[in-house]
């Protein structure tokens, strides 16, 4: 799967959790999920569950803890998919 395709899917997954929708218009690999998109930190659990379902992968807790940016998620998925 191409990076662009994974990136788009990750943004789609994040969309319902985003509390700062304006930031979506400039979303990029380096965009912080918590600081820029204002996703509630408790909801990262739900984001990871969605990623597992959409990409058919299993994400370990220690790997999930390292995801800070959209790019971190994309890189993690590409490594496993």
């Amino acid at each position: 799967m191409e990076q662009k395709e994974v990136f788009d899917k990750v943004v789609t997954i994040l969309k319902p959790f985003v509390k700062n929708p304006d930031a979506l218009s400039t979303v990029a690999m380096e965009t912080s999920i918590l600081k820029d998109l204002k996703v509630n930190s408790a909801r990262l659990v739900d984001v990871v569950l969605e990623i597992e379902d959409v990409f058919g992968i299993e994400v370990k807790d220690e790997d999930a803890d390292k995801v800070k940016t959209v790019g971190d998620a994309v890189t993690l998925i590409l490594a496993k998919a």
């Binding site: 319902p16 959790f17 509630n40 909801r43 739900d46």
Partner: protein, 425 residues
Amino acid sequence: MTERVVVTGVGVIAPNGHGKDAFASALRDGKSGIRFHQHLADANFGCRVGGIPEGVAEIQSRYLSDEELLAMNANMIYAAIASIDAWTDAGLTRVPADSDAVDWDTGAIVGTGIGGMDTIAEKLVPKTDAGKVSRLGSTMVEQIMSSGNSARIGGLLALGNQVTTNSSACNTGTEAIINSFFRIREGRAKRMLAGGSEGHSKYIWAGFDAMKVLNRTKNDEPERASRPMSASAAGFIPGSGAGVLMLESLTSARERGARIYAEVLGGHVNCGGHRMGGSMTAPNPTGVQRCIREAVQMSGVRSEEIDAINGHLTATFADPYEVKSWSRALELPPEKMPLLHSTKSLIGHALGAAGGIECVAAILELEQGFVHGSVNCEDLHPELTAYADRIPHTTVSRPDLRVIAKASFGFGDVNGCVVFRKFAS
């Protein structure tokens, strides 16, 4: 020195209408919110009709973001919509989510009878039993904790005073209003959102169906199924939704020039102790009468000054007992009783939301000068024959309506009674 307490806002989402205007029109027009529900038939319920607010999917998107809705069940959504409406109706402005302005003077007591049973039944239990705890996600606790409905309201409106959820079965909404009344009266809050909410899941209603306290004889005539005070009353019809009042100290209301609907003159809650005929599921008549007497005594009005009673009146065997308890407590013979009516005849019994929704009905009646018809009791219960003239079957115009007494009674033998008077500045 105690504060006088007034009603400065109302919010309601009921089976027969959302919002003050639609709900008031529905009451005036005798519009029923009871419908046949296939999912109850599919689950082999005896009672297959119920009251569920309509058009909620469209309504909720105007009040709540996708992010908020991800962690909200029906009970919480109803509570949020009614509370935001009451807030706005009171002339208050919502602070943006990214503002740190907390309103330390305003709180919320919004109760629920059963709570997030749909979330528990549809998500928590199946996934846990399947060994998939890690698949539950982050949103379970806030949806199943008893205080979930009021907790969400606290965040939506940046409330900084007491925010809690009370629960006293079908007395919940009325109890919330009385508890909030006392809090403002003591000077511990300037404003309180007060009322109740209840979802509509089959899992909430199944236990009542199993007890055979729901009417199973009118599945083919939903609008005639809720029959308080009738000879053919054969159980209540389950309902859902939320009703919330903005209660405020008179001082605060005057300071900000708020519109005042009514004053809360008095209120009382008690328990019959499951004695003297009372039990977990039946009221001790002495407890009921004491509750009404205490509320009326506190209100300072004479029995004769009460224009209407919005009763608990669910359409079970207890209706005649309730009416007689009102009569004894007020020491009024049948012909001198206030007008008696049941909002449940139009929307069913919304359990923990009932008192909240019905108090909104009472406030709107006071504001607009009418008493809505208590439908489906054309075959009045024989023990109520002496009260026939006091029970309007269709809406009556009463421009001079001043005082309404509202009571709720719940499983656990618990009672609540509150007295409202139209506000004259």
